[in-house]
């Protein structure tokens, strides 16, 4: 029932917004209908036409809301209620896409885009979203309310962007979905390393988007990237919560079905046009996931793909990842030399990953003392408790030569 409700929320919202405009009021009304369904459907059974039920209940809430505002609104809303409406609203595929564009409006802050998308398109309740982001419900409710006010004040209508604007806006939508996925996958706060609800939701929304715009390579690329990354979920953490590096992961725990699906997706889009960054990242993930064990990883291919990625989206993080691949192909000193070029980069100044990767490459190069120093530095810079502990552990291992260093990752 929950899955059904989530699917219906954006459809119901789209119907109402088409009828009445006023995205913010309609969204509130649909949210209330969603909560009502959550109480009544388990009790009374799922209605024969669940979408019509949601639309009817939401419409009544809307009208009640307007009625309590002014007589003028009463006349307007009565007219709307009397207007001939299709008995079973037919959801337009484009409407959900439009909703996505609306919720991912570039003038909203990223947290607002995420929250609004999860609510209006994802069909999650405010409480569920608050719980996913580990903030109080009242805080999340305000964030969503303000986001909707912002949309209202920009005067955005329920119209599909076209041409270059559409390309740009689609890029923002992909970014939002990727942020949702990442939030769940790496869990930027909280003691758990992963929050699976958000990763599942991000994948579900990416699938939905892929169905809506099947010709868009980058959408397929993002979905593939999510699947290929999520496939490793079970192997990614020790039971005590510390992270397990890629090279040390037990690959029998990887989800073969997701890897298959992701690989197929990316194989299909490669060669169908210019490659975007999500497609390249997905291709890299596919190369990793296809290796039966760490030693069998096709690092030269990964290095080549990072070189492509660096052209598409140059930046210190890509360079950092390329340095790892470079080290695996041409030796740790080559990787370290590339890292050196990042030292002057302002953007990396506060980034613990630069230090931890440096530590790792030094360890591979056999310089235990220097490696230890950098692991400890990285431990001080990370904002993740599991990662603090992991890095401290790596450093401590190097101080005990009998322990032996873990296999390279």
């Amino acid at each position: 029932m929950e899955g059904l409700l989530r699917e219906l929320v954006p459809q119901a919202l789209a119907v109402l917004v088409r009828r009445h405009g006023q995205f913010d009021a309609c969204e509130d009304a649909v949210q209330e209908a969603l909560l009502a369904a959550g109480v009544q459907w388990p009790r009374d059974g799922i209605p024969v036409s669940p979408l019509s039920w949601l639309v009817a209940v939401a419409s009544r809430r809307l009208i009640d809301e307007w009625r309590s505002e002014s007589a003028r609104r009463l006349r307007e809303s009565t007219a709307a209620a009397l207007a001939p409406a299709t008995p079973t609203p037919v959801p337009d595929q484009d409407d959900t896409l439009m909703l996505l564009f609306l919720c991912c409006h570039p003038w909203l802050s990223a947290p607002s885009q995420l929250a609004l998308t999860l609510r209006a398109v994802g069909g999650l309740t405010t409480a569920e979203i608050a719980s996913a982001f580990l903030v109080p419900e009242a805080t999340m409710a305000q964030r969503i309310s303000r986001a909707k006010q912002r949309i209202k004040s920009t005067g955005t209508s329920f119209d599909m962007p076209l041409g270059s604007e559409r390309v740009e806006r689609l890029g923002v939508v992909l970014q939002v979905l990727y942020l949702i996925f990442n939030e769940g996958y790496t869990a930027s706060s909280g003691p758990q390393l992963q929050r699976t609800d958000l990763t599942s939701e991000a994948i579900r929304l990416a699938r939905l988007l892929h169905r809506l715009v099947p010709a868009e390579g980058e959408v397929a690329g993002l979905l593939a990237l999510m699947l290929l990354t999520d496939a490793r979920r079970a192997a990614r953490t020790h039971p005590d919560g510390t992270p397990v590096q890629l090279a040390e992961q037990r690959r029998e725990l990887w989800d073969a079905g997701q890897i298959q699906e992701g690989t197929t997706l990316i194989d299909r889009t490669l060669g169908s046009g210019p490659l975007g960054p999500y497609q390249v990242q997905a291709a890299i993930a596919a190369v990793h996931d296809e290796a039966p064990e760490a030693d069998a990883t096709d690092w030269p291919q990964i290095l080549a793909l990072y070189e492509v990625l660096e052209i598409a989206t140059p930046g210190p993080v890509v360079t950092l990842n390329r340095a790892v691949a470079l080290a695996m192909v041409h030796g740790p000193r080559a990787g370290l030399a590339l890292l050196g070029t990042l030292d002057a980069d302002e953007r990396m100044a506060r980034n613990h990953r630069l230090e931890s990767v440096r530590g790792h490459l030094l360890e591979l190069a056999g310089d235990a003392e220097a490696a230890r120093h950098y692991y400890q530095r990285a431990a001080r810079m990370t904002a993740s408790v599991p990662e603090q502990r992991y890095l401290s552990l790596r450093a401590a291992r190097l101080a005990e030569p009998d322990e032996g260093a873990p296999p390279p990752s």
């Binding site: 510390t242 001080r380 408790v385 502990r389 401290s392 401590a396 005990e400």
Partner: protein, 120 residues
């Protein structure tokens, strides 16, 4: 009644001198503490903070509020993390703190959260 259990000190420096074995045991211990508190229905919140070297402090200076790099207190006296627990009495809060300090050997300050209703 809610209490905050505050852990002070430079955790990173402390960890740098610890053995692999000790660190592994510490990770397991901390996990168990949180699990036990959750199962007992007492855990409200538990967080570790980023290292003091990452902190910035905003002070009121010369008529305006100004941020500057660095923590408020010296690293060795900086807040490193906390638990907020909802317990029956101060005695229970101290019992929890004692259990933790028995393992970590570092000091833990226990303070009531002032959310008691006013009495008048």
């Amino acid at each position: 009644m809610k209490y905050i259990l505050m852990m002070f000190g430079d955790q990173a420096s402390m960890m740098e001198t610890r053995s692999v074995e000790w660190i592994k045991e510490m990770i397991e211990f901390m996990g168990t503490v949180n699990d036990d508190l959750t199962n007992a229905g007492e855990l409200v919140s538990a967080e570790g903070l980023a290292d003091a070297s990452q902190a910035k402090t905003v002070r009121y200076d010369g008529g305006i509020a100004v941020p500057s790099d660095g923590p408020f207190a010296e690293s060795k006296e900086s807040l490193a993390g906390y638990w907020i627990v909802d317990v029956e009495s101060e005695k229970r809060a101290l019992e929890i703190a004692t259990h933790i300090v028995d393992f970590t050997h570092g000091p833990l300050e226990v303070r009531q959260i002032a959310d008691a209703p006013p009495e008048y």
